[in-house]
Symmetry: C2
Subunit: 277 residues, 2 copies
């Protein structure tokens, strides 16, 4: 999915909600555990219920890899299911990969190649290894690299705010430098929402880039602040919510409740799009 | 495998060689391509030929994930095969993962849990997200986190050498800070060999930690310099070679030649262990 298509999708659904499919098998409703593939059945029901309100799905690879080969089969089936909605949602492999050049090429093949088992629109990458670890993810048409800049966890304080001699924190250097490696058409940034007021500064450095924003919902970020400080005329935001939607309920009504939670977020987003876009 | 066992293994084999199983399916000998699982057959032959000279094996996940589910089955079979030699070699999942705390827990389960599909002794982790992204990998007995500090690629220059106000480069901050999160018994560092003279400084900051050193061989690092500047009384080094050993030959003799290459490196290593340990 290219930038223009993504922007049109956001405008059409009046939503910039990304649902994080962090489908921890120990947390999904117990009545699904008799199914052959409980994680896939869970995802399918969540997707069906949330698709009208959602522009992106983001499975976090960790929750699939932790079930070994079986977990990756659940992911493959989930991506096959999502492929029928390819104009209705953007897909993100939350993989946080990154390695030397020839190895990053292999990762890009694993997740972005349309002939591969997964065929995501985009994947998240960690910046520590620099340019040659990032560039191989920009070679596919209409596919995206989403680079970690400012994350929403406590550990973000350990290195991401370290200032260099010109008082520039590391995450700002990542934001600036990486724009030499990709364009607004194939490069987004992860910017955590627990620091919403920092979006003013982020928009000075990356005025048009799409930002993937975790940390709203269970992690406590404010959707209004993110919208106020981070939104552009093209929206420019994908705000993720995982647990607050997919685990809102764990009875047989889980999907319905997840859908209602997504609708609630979408309605709030529609309001902010009117105000700030 | 715990620290003492690893040190004894190194002394017994007079080797600190790690063979990187970057088993790119497009590069393995063509006569194997008729096998049901060419990558596993390749790995098995390489392991059989190199085991006497090798103390560790390091499959890079990217080369398995790029073949999708099939690739991960090759990895699972490789790890099952290696499990019979668990006292003969240390295993490293070169995965470069790292995510917020609850997600990193899932990754640790994926690769380090003895009930999982892979059951590695250790895995590589990227430091960008800080403490809570690293700590979950330290909870298993006799298992290790191997944190990226100084990598061997060109892109290492983009962020890892950025100096803070006290002139401390980022990779040194990672080396120092991370030792608050783990001990010399469960934390190693990746330190690239293309910068061998920097090992003097690295040893000031991490005098006893084991270092996983890529970049010797195809990437051009010098084994003698790494040994001279990086070795401790317990050796403290695992030096990786991937392509220079596993792809030394691509005829039906590939395994034999790989074994001879590994033997050559081991003999050189034995010499440096006498000189510098």
């Amino acid at each position: 999915m290219n930038r223009q298509e993504l922007i049109e999708l956001i405008k059409r659904k009046k939503s910039f909600l990304c649902v994080g499919l962090d489908s921890d098998i120990t947390k999904i409703p117990s009545h699904l555990m008799n199914d052959e593939d409980p994680v896939f059945e869970f995802n399918k029901a969540i997707i069906d219920a949330t698709l009208p309100y959602t522009v992106a799905y983001k499975p976090n690879l960790a929750f699939y890899e932790s079930n070994g080969i079986k977990g990756l089969l659940s992911l493959k089936k989930t991506m096959e299911y999502l492929s029928q909605f390819k104009d209705e949602c953007f897909t993100i492999a939350d993989a946080k990969r990154g390695d030397i050049g020839n190895t990053s090429e292999q990762y890009s093949k694993a997740f972005l190649d349309s002939n591969g088992d997964f065929n995501f629109d985009s994947m998240t990458i960690a910046p520590y290894m620099g340019e040659d670890s990032v560039k191989p993810f920009t070679i596919y048409d209409d596919k995206w690299v989403i680079l970690l800049a400012l994350t929403s966890n406590k550990g973000a304080n350990d290195f991401q705010f370290t200032q260099d001699k010109n008082n520039q924190p590391l995450f700002e250097k990542v934001l600036t430098k990486a724009q030499e490696w990709g364009t607004i058409n194939n490069l987004m940034f992860v910017c955590g929402a627990t620091q919403a007021t920092m979006f003013t500064r982020i928009r000075e450095l990356a005025p048009e880039s799409f930002l993937l924003v975790p940390g709203v919902g269970a992690q406590g970020g404010s959707l209004e602040e993110v919208s106020k400080y981070g939104m552009t005329k093209d929206c420019g935001l994908l705000v993720n919510s995982s647990r607050a939607i997919i685990f809102a309920d764990n009875t047989e009504n889980f999907a319905k409740i997840a859908g209602l939670e997504a609708k609630k977020v979408q309605e709030e987003m529609g309001k902010y799009m009117k105000l700030y876009m």
